[in-house]
């Protein structure tokens, strides 16, 4: 199953694994211990993270070491920038709506001044 960056991180367990790997290259046992997730779950999620490009695996003798790859995070960053622009635009409309309302309440208060 090949997931895009969003689907890969949609799962809270996988987010916890990614956060654990922020500390650097680790073996499955370390991730199990630090993330507090059952071994079988960690192996499955590491496979999914590997397939979706978040995690690299290299053998070191008997051990398999897992580490984060930067590429999907760049992709995520670009998306976040777009998400931010979307909210900036939304708050521009907030500002415009506010101005319109202010205009009305100034008129209203002028009107009430006269009465």
């Amino acid at each position: 199953m090949q997931l895009d960056v969003f689907q890969a991180l949609a799962d809270p367990t996988r987010r916890r694994i990614v956060e654990t790997l922020l500390a650097g290259e680790q073996q499955v046992g370390d991730v199990v211990e630090k993330a507090g997730i059952h071994q079988s779950g960690v192996s499955r999620h590491l496979r999914i993270l590997h397939e979706s490009g978040f995690v690299d695996m290299r053998p070191d003798g008997q051990r398999r070491l897992y580490a984060l790859r930067p590429e999907p995070f760049h992709e995520l960053e670009q998306w976040l920038a777009r998400y931010r622009r979307l909210w900036d635009a939304r708050l521009d409309r907030f500002g415009a709506a506010l101005e319109k309302k202010q205009g009305r309440s100034i008129k209203n208060s002028r009107r009430s001044d006269r009465t």
Binding site: W87, L98, Q102
Partner: protein, 163 residues
Amino acid sequence: MSPVSTPHAPTKTVIERTYRAALADVWNLWTTREGFESWWGPQGFRVDVAELDARAGGTLRYEMIAATPEMVRAMTEAGQPVTHGVRSTFADVRPMTHLVLRNVIDFVPGVPPYEADITVSLSQEGERVRMVVTLAPLHSPEFSAMQKEGFESQLTKLDERFA
């Protein structure tokens, strides 16, 4: 009902704005039907509020409606409905100061339901009102909708259409 988990947000987006306005007017744009309808929603959409109860635990329900002929056509061509219902909760409300709008994301296949918060803090600074909006983008309705519908490619299509 399945339990709702609140995963730790890997990243938060904080947006600050300052307005020369009355605090009550800024507050009302978030907490009244008329105010909310006057600005909420992505470009090309409008919202129709069915219920807005801005008390702690109160409900916000609205329809998000494609509002321009271009958007209606774009949504139709992308196989999306032109209107869709959204339900949120005012999780925390401290009048004129602070509110948390909580969206329950329970429609992503294979992902347990979770909560996505939009936090708004207001403070009076002289004649101005400072508004800080804190978002958890990875847990936002927009993000979840993209996951659900593979929206990324459709957004690209929209970008091209409106370029």
